[in-house]
Structure formats: structure tokens, C-alpha cells
């Protein structure tokens, strides 16, 4: 793929990924052909900041986990009062990373 397109994608979407993912994504994007560009540019990613806000407001109900697609863990959190309140607090700090990891999984389906 064109280096200009790849850099544009990286610039606009860098907030959705962990810093250490970006290099891999860039290299992989340069290697694949142009036919994937249409899917790639219209992809929807989970917003880490939104998940953090939801986690602070409704983390005890597991809604943050449901939002990023971790349904099983969300149910676990809901059934245990947010993991006795401890897991809910831990997730205030973990949820952004979890959302970015989910985005990486999502983009990997296209890249590989």
C-alpha cells in the first residue's frame, strides 16, 4: 500500500492502538495491497476514552466490558457486584488498554 495512505491512516487512528502496536500495523499495511483500503478506511474502532468514562460511571454493572465486546467478562462483573467492587476499580485503569487490544484484534483480521 502507498506510504502516504498508510501514514495518513496511522495519524488519524493512532489513539485507538497501543504505541507498540503502531510499528507492526505500519509495516503490515505497507506490505498488503490496495484492495483492503476501502474496508480499512471505513472500519469502526472502540474509543478508549468513552470506555473509560463508562467504566467510571457504570463499571460495577460491567457495561464497559460489554461495550468493548468482552461479553463473558461483562457478565462476570455484573453477577459479582463488579468483582466485589475491586475489579470495577482495577478496570478504571485497565479498560483503555483492553479497548486498544480489542481494536488490534479487529484490525488483525484484515491485515493477516
Amino acid at each position: 500500500m502507498d506510504a502516504q495512505k498508510v501514514d495518513m491512516f496511522i495519524m488519524t487512528n493512532s489513539k485507538y492502538f497501543e504505541a507498540y502496536h503502531l510499528n507492526t500495523i505500519r509495516e503490515r499495511l505497507l506490505a498488503i495491497d490496495d484492495s483492503k483500503w476501502a474496508i480499512l478506511s471505513t472500519m469502526q474502532f472502540h474509543e478508549p476514552t468513552t470506555s473509560l468514562i463508562v467504566s467510571i460511571l457504570a463499571g460495577s454493572l460491567g457495561i464497559d466490558r460489554f461495550m468493548i465486546g468482552d461479553t463473558g467478562l461483562g457478565v462476570g462483573k455484573l453477577l459479582t457486584c463488579g468483582g466485589l467492587g475491586i475489579w470495577a476499580i482495577i478496570d478504571w485503569f485497565m479498560i483503555q488498554k483492553a479497548a486498544r487490544e480489542k481494536n488490534m484484534q479487529k484490525i488483525q483480521q484484515i491485515l493477516y
Binding site: G59, S60, L61, G69, T71, G72, L73, V75, G76, L78, L79, T80, C81, G82, G83, L84, G85, A88, I89
Partner: protein, 137 residues
Amino acid sequence: MLFKNYRLYIILSFACIVGYVWLLLNLLHIRTVQGTHACLIKTIMNIPCPSCGATRSILLLFQGEFLKALMINPIGIIVAGIMLITPFWICFDILTKQKTLMNFYLQIEIYLKKAFIAIPLVILILLNWSWNIIKEL
């Protein structure tokens, strides 16, 4: 990658251990600070959350009082079921070197994301929540 494959098993084993320790603490009436709750919603807003009362429900269930357990919180029965089955399932998977629990979990996740299952479940949880608030658990 190895950690990722077994992450579910580690999380579930840890959750089971914490769950049983929590039950034991409640059974022996050991409370660290009086007047505080494990539940964040109950501590901050003073109203019960959908799963408040699950511990009481499980303790009643172990005494054989099924109906009373159901009346306190039906979620307790679901949690008790999960807590009873999961350790055996984890042991089975470790002994036979299979991933049946992992596959089951992934299947359930797919089903729960479907709207015709998710929406009734959300409504049930909301109904249970309002029932909890009325009961003042």
C-alpha cells in the same frame, strides 16, 4: 501467546478462589470494617445493585433453603451454579489437556451478543434490580 491461551483459566480459577474465600468470610461473620459494603453502588448511592444479596442467597442455598434463596436474589442461584461447576470443569480440562471450557465460553459469548437473547436478559436484570430496590436489600 501461551498466557493468552490460558488467560481465561487463570481468571476463572482466581475468581473461584476469591469467591469461596468470600463465602467463608461471610459464613464465619468476619467483616473488616463495619457498615461498609463490597458493592460500590451500594456504598456510594445507598441503593442495591442488580446482584446485591447474591452472597446471602448462596449461603441460604447451601443450607437447603431454595425458596428463600430465590426470594432474596435469583442471581445467587446462577452464581452458585457457576461456582460449583467451574472448578470441576477446569480440572477436567487440565487433566485431559482439552479446551472444552474455553470453547464453551466463546460460544456463549457469541450467543449473548445476539439481540434476541441480549435484550430479554437486560430486561430481566433491570426487573431484578427494581425488585432489589423495592426489597431494600
